[in-house]
Symmetry: C2
Subunit: 260 residues, 2 copies
DNA sequence: CAGTGGTCTAGACCACCTC
DNA sequence: AGGTGGTCTAGACCACTGT
């Protein structure tokens, strides 16, 4: 059995497909990232068809005018994301569409966004408060240390999609988060020079309380998807703890896992 | 602000800590993986304390008797997993324990396993059947093509933790899965030479139906965490589709995300 | 300024797969 | 046998960080 990749698709080499890739060696963007971006858009755009062979690394590197390790770095990152599949003795092929595009859009959130609706964020709460014990622990603060408490409701086309509750150590957002309606919390943090780098997430489920049900427009006791997260910057300092609730019938969390 | 890493912990170099690492250049295990494993156990075992500096890459490579790119590969994989944090101009430090060990054991499942209880798997269903449309699509089979239908209940200390429903194309498990009680499905597949390599997962929530409630020992309508997954081998061939249900009060999904 | 990780090169040999 | 990716080397220069 040769596998569907070679059977079902025309096996084309990528020789000429990347001909338009001109590398800018003066750009601050690393060469491997330039290659990565170009390959990614070629795959997403259908220019490189699923199952097509990328061709021998050494030859491809020569054509692009860079070294093999550099090209390999680009390929490795795309393999990690499930866009490419490498097999020793075979070559590097573009992953089948089914592998790359997991499930048909099934959650209402994705349907609405795909339909051109933009998410809107409504701020419900934004004030300082003494940290509850659990939050103080997660953020490595002393008991009852003051934190910024933020609660937002995200809607798409007037339909509530997420209820997001966040706690931030004071000092992370000195001006208490002006501009949160326009952009996400993480964008805002990044513009303030805070870079969430590592996050620990815990995903679970719960039944909606009366308050949650009212805000999310579901019945009381309706199943909610929950996501708790603590984010750290690159010095290991906690910068945010969030508890996000999603109505189960409107939102799912999609992920691709590649075995190490 | 220097950051908690340097403030709170003695900043030790790893000079002598890896002194016992002897590389086996004849081993089939790659050098970078030998280093990776040693570093990992040193971190997990507390030999390398959180916040301690790993020391300059070039020097460390020289001490270990290998090249810098090889050492860098080992470090890079640990950075991806959130065990190490690299900062330009600073160095590589061991991530704080809070970053590495996300949340206190909160789910019943983890509590029970930590208490020394072993999970037990009970097989409820194991037979061939024509694939339902949705399954046939996910596995890229023709409508009503025969598949192996498997349903298992996992228990820890007599408490149901997961209801797992799986569909496999025929031929993936020729002997219809003998030995499933003793080991997991993926272990069994691997022993049969099938290597699940990429999986697409969709995590959501739902309310327990009457049947699910009975099997999982929860009330009807109780919130369940759901995980749907399609797994592919390294040729992009679908090898399994699974629908797993977890009682929300006994199970959470933990993950660490590192920003690219 | 000195020290760190980030990127890049031009080779080499090996293990694995297909024919 | 021939081609592929997997691993490894010994250098180089650059960008960023803290003093």
């Amino acid at each position: 059995m040769t596998g569907q990749l070679v059977d079902e698709h025309v096996t084309r080499r990528g020789h000429t497909l990347l001909a338009d890739l001109v590398l800018d060696r003066d750009s601050p963007v690393p060469l491997y990232h330039q290659v990565l971006s170009r390959l990614e858009s070629a795959i997403e755009g259908g220019e490189l068809r699923p199952g097509s062979l990328l061709g021998n690394e050494i030859e491809l590197a020569r054509q692009l005018g860079l070294s093999r390790p550099t090209l390999r770095m680009a390929i490795a990152k795309l393999v990690e994301r499930g866009l490419l599949i490498r097999r020793r003795g075979i070559g590097t092929v573009v992953a089948p569409a089914l592998v790359r595009r997991p499930f048909a859009l099934t959650s209402l959130h994705d349907d609405l966004v795909a339909a051109g609706q933009h998410p809107v964020t409504r701020i419900l709460t934004l004030h300082e408060m003494p940290a509850p014990d659990e939050i103080a622990t997660a953020l490595q603060l002393g008991a009852s240390a003051p934190v910024l408490h933020l609660r937002r409701l995200r809607l798409v086309d007037e339909v509530p999609i997420a209820l997001m509750t966040n706690y931030l150590p004071l000092g992370v957002l000195p001006d208490a988060g002006s501009g949160l309606e326009g952009s996400g919390l993480y964008d805002l943090l990044r513009r303030r020079g805070v870079q969430p780098k590592i996050a620990n997430q815990s995903v679970g489920a719960c039944a909606a309380t009366a308050t949650e049900a009212r805000l999310l427009a579901v019945r009381r006791g309706a199943p909610l998807l929950t996501m708790r997260r603590t984010a750290f910057d690159d010095s290991g300092q906690p910068v945010e703890h969030g508890i996000h609730l999603y109505p189960a019938d409107r939102y799912t969390l999609e992920m691709t896992v590649v075995r190490r």
